[in-house]
Symmetry: C2
């Protein structure tokens, strides 16, 4: 994956206060109305053909805690203090009020500290998870890539790649 080196550690400009939700009559709104930008990606979805295999992999291999589970539909995992990884069976989620569900290998990246990279590399090898690629990014930071049981491309990434305020 080619990543841009143009990121700067600044927030977007349109983070002025949002409208007061307690106001009875909605304020006049136009396209340029300032609305606070989204603060984070809270939930990331992947799609898997075998929920049990996904639960075993993300819990046992990656050490994520299961925070939700419905048989034949999904298993959810907490990542750190602020994120949730949602693993769905797309056959089930393509029906419902807000249908979604994809086929083919997806991708996401989990943040780890640089000093944990070596231990992760060793751990994956010990557990028989093949490392598909390792990348050292021009701006700094390193990534290792491997597959989950469904074939999704999982990346572990250290700080430095994106020059975000968070360090990543």
């Amino acid at each position: 994956m080619k990543k841009s080196q143009s990121a700067k550690p600044h927030r977007t400009a349109n983070e002025t206060p949002a409208a007061d939700p307690k106001t009875e009559s909605p304020p006049t709104v136009d396209e340029t109305m300032p609305v606070a930008s989204p603060l984070s990606v809270v939930e990331t979805a992947i799609y898997v053909d075998d929920l049990d295999a996904a639960e075993d992999f993300y819990q046992r291999v990656l050490g994520l805690r299961v925070v939700g589970k419905v048989a034949h539909r999904h298993v959810f995992f907490q990542v750190g203090e602020s994120d949730v990884l949602l693993a769905f069976n797309p056959v089930t989620t393509l029906t419902g009020d807000t249908p979604h569900g994809a086929t083919g290998p997806g991708h996401f990246a989990l943040g780890i500290e640089m000093q944990a990279l070596h231990a992760w590399r060793q751990r994956l090898r010990t557990l028989g998870v093949a490392i598909e690629a390792e990348v050292e990014w021009p701006a700094g930071g390193k990534s290792i890539y491997f597959r989950d049981p469904a074939g999704n491309s999982v990346e572990l990434v250290t700080p430095g790649v994106w020059r975000l305020p968070s360090g990543w």
Copy 2:
């Protein structure tokens, strides 16, 4: 989407220090070796058929800053201080060293403050983005769902749903 109410605001147990990467000889590793859990989801990928439409939508409608762009391949957006949303053309990304690329509607959720919810609802309506569903979660928190131009299910979610340490 059904979400679990079982989440607790505690970190996972295996966050002991990782091995020192400067050690010349790798330490003895077994499956139970403590490795620091991933700290966050840094990158979330979605797949789109029209990168220009995705760029317009996520930049103009959702206020995200473009931090990377390669014609016919991808456009990347910064979300808040710590996350990156990656929009890929799956036709292009299914070739390469770490191939990935899905078809069908994906899903992810962006975090917003509760006091911004009303302004977001109004903004989407003003810009002609149909709100597909609104959900008030039993544990607290609200979500609104809509589609990006590629058909991906985008959710704006307020704190309270997952009982994460972050508030979300």
